[in-house]
Symmetry: C2
Subunit: 378 residues, 2 copies
């Protein structure tokens, strides 16, 4: 289905396909140079045409955040799927069904208790699950540290229980708190070193650990060497966003996702422009709040995408966004931004904003708009 | 479709139907006592069985935040629908289609420019739209103040242009910043007084202004008199949430919406319990951040709903929630909250958390679970 920008009702999630393709090429080329496979995290887009573009550019399999994403990808012919959230025992039944259909689904654990649950379930159903062990490389969330006494116990539990121990994985999520190349390079090296060390500990214990999977968009784009790493997972690079821009790993003209909105009112005395993109459209994500530059609920651009310096969504109700301008530029707002005129808003966090929409409106290089549906829920 | 709690995969949005029915009765009874109609705002639930329960209890029509909600309600036999966001001229075509099908759709404006656009479009299509004028009673968002010189001009533009001026409406959204009965009662009276005054100004100018519509859940439940008001709009009362609990207008046992989640890991050293409800399930809404009590991304309860004092979701990634406990109670977390065990999380903001899910799992008084779908997108 094809439409034009002016025919769209607002708010809609606009995708700039040329920018997206550029971002996909950029990450794939960097991974090729570093000699590792790229396994994109599709939690950002949850959208098949986007995923297909990543595969076409050279990606090896996909990473998913839910089993629904896994089912969707497998139904579309993607066989190598890594569910990169430590699995709840109650989800093993669903994982089994996927594997029985022929999907090479990988699952994840970071505890002896969960490893035992996988083994018990796998043995009961005569299934040799592909399992990865999660490593904690920066203390931000889950995983076992490289020196955790239970690391070898988890590995041994899986191997002795007849499971396929694929390797170790980590995610340097603390990279979102950094914003200098030196700090990002240091964290990328820490992520690599600790995950490779964990693999070596397991191998030294006489257990198999073929793969080492690391990744986050900021560290993936900052790593100088990925020696010992076999694959990188990264997600948000496909669209980029204001958080990534503040971190310093993308330019403003690489942001591929925006929300098209219509001006519905003004509060002239306060210099407010009211638009029909509130938090239901932008999401409540305030990821830039504690970063180098706080963009409120988003950076305002013209309808055709030109950044309007200092114009931000500084307040949001469910279906109302409040835009304020740079100090001193509030005069004549109802003439400059009349009711019915349109703006684009760049989001803080592409994963969160995308999730507010049932589909993207993908704008190709000829200006045609295609409706690309995305997954919602679990 | 009926299921049991234990059969549900997580995360899911659980609705306690008994609590919801209690909340609906509570608000309807209070409005009956105050002698006004209740027009519930369905943006909170976006769910037909919930709306039907509100209508069955005595509601007069509905308020919607999108025309998609309006279409959905009208398709299910609800005729009197108020789209309570100042209309973008580009949406008049969709509004017209709804009215031509027989829906008595009301639309809203707060400017001469938009009023003219409504008149031009209405005259071109020979349609006498039902239009309300938005009044600003507390400076928090949109609307004309009661003394704004253009108030009468907007009213006259509509009436002279042949539109049906239904009345004035306001929303005291600043009530979310209050947390004492005295302050809430004062704001409720301000909301009433200013909106009634605006109606009187219009009437004194010789123009019709039959209706006066006000509302927000906190002010609706705090108002001592609604003299001059004809209807109240309120939304979140149907489920309530932690924001409303902090404001002081509901008890903990009136919160009807929660997210059922499963424990997937621990970081014993830090006292962290990792669950499979991250921000994708809870939303990024941090509405309690600057309130009396900051609940992080939600208050943790047992699987059966008992509040666990001091247990909160203090961190969230897309599919990971990090629960921390009250200081001093972090011992033996992996025994007390083992992997695979379940918890319920009460959300900050029911409108935002509900929107993350394609449906609610509504638990009736017999413990049976029904799947109630909800709208997503525009």
């Amino acid at each position: 289905m094809s439409a034009s920008l002016s025919s769209l009702d607002t708010p809609v999630a606009l995708l700039d396909v040329s920018r997206m393709q550029h971002n996909i090429q950029r990450m794939q080329q960097r991974m090729n140079e570093l000699g590792v496979r790229l396994r994109p995290h599709v939690k950002t887009s949850k959208c098949l045409p986007v995923i297909q573009a990543q595969i076409a550019a050279g990606a090896s399999g996909v990473t998913v955040s839910t089993l629904k994403e896994a089912e969707h990808c497998f139904a579309e012919g993607i066989n190598d799927v890594f569910y990169a959230v430590a699995i709840a025992p109650g989800k093993l039944e669903q994982a089994l069904r996927l594997r029985r259909k022929g999907c090479r689904l990988s699952i994840l654990t970071d505890s002896v208790a969960a490893a035992r649950a996988i083994v018990v379930f796998g043995q009961a159903h005569d299934e040799r699950f592909d399992v990865w062990i999660e490593i904690d490389c920066d203390g931000h969330r889950s995983g076992l540290t490289v020196d955790d006494p239970s690391l070898i116990e988890v590995a041994r539990t899986l191997v002795d229980g007849g499971m396929q121990l694929r390797g170790v994985m980590t995610h340097a999520g603390s990279s979102y708190d950094l914003d200098t190349p030196a700090a990002l390079q240091a964290l990328a090296e820490q992520e690599r070193r600790l995950c490779v060390s964990a693999a070596e500990r397991i191998r030294q214990a006489g257990l198999p650990c073929a793969d080492v999977s690391i990744g986050s968009t900021p560290t993936a784009l900052s790593a100088q060497s990925l020696h010992g790493v076999t694959e990188v997972r990264a997600g948000v690079y496909v669209f980029f966003d204001l958080v990534m821009h503040n971190i310093g790993v993308c330019r403003a003209d690489e942001l591929a996702l925006s929300v098209l909105t219509t001006v519905i009112g003004h509060q002239q005395d306060k210099g407010w422009i009211i638009v029909d993109a509130g938090w239901m459209a932008m999401s409540r994500d305030r990821g830039t709040q504690r970063q180098r530059e706080d963009f409120g609920y988003g950076q305002v651009c013209s309808e055709t995408g030109e950044w309007i310096d200092g114009a931000r969504v500084t307040g949001a109700n469910q279906e109302h966004g409040i835009i304020t301008l740079a100090a001193g530029s509030e005069a004549d707002i109802s003439e400059r931004f009349p009711i019915g005129s349109r703006l684009r808003i760049l989001p803080n966090h592409a994963c969160a904003t995308g999730a507010q929409f049932p589909d993207y409106h993908a704008c190709d290089s000829e200006g045609a708009i295609h409706t690309w549906s995305r997954l919602h829920g679990w």
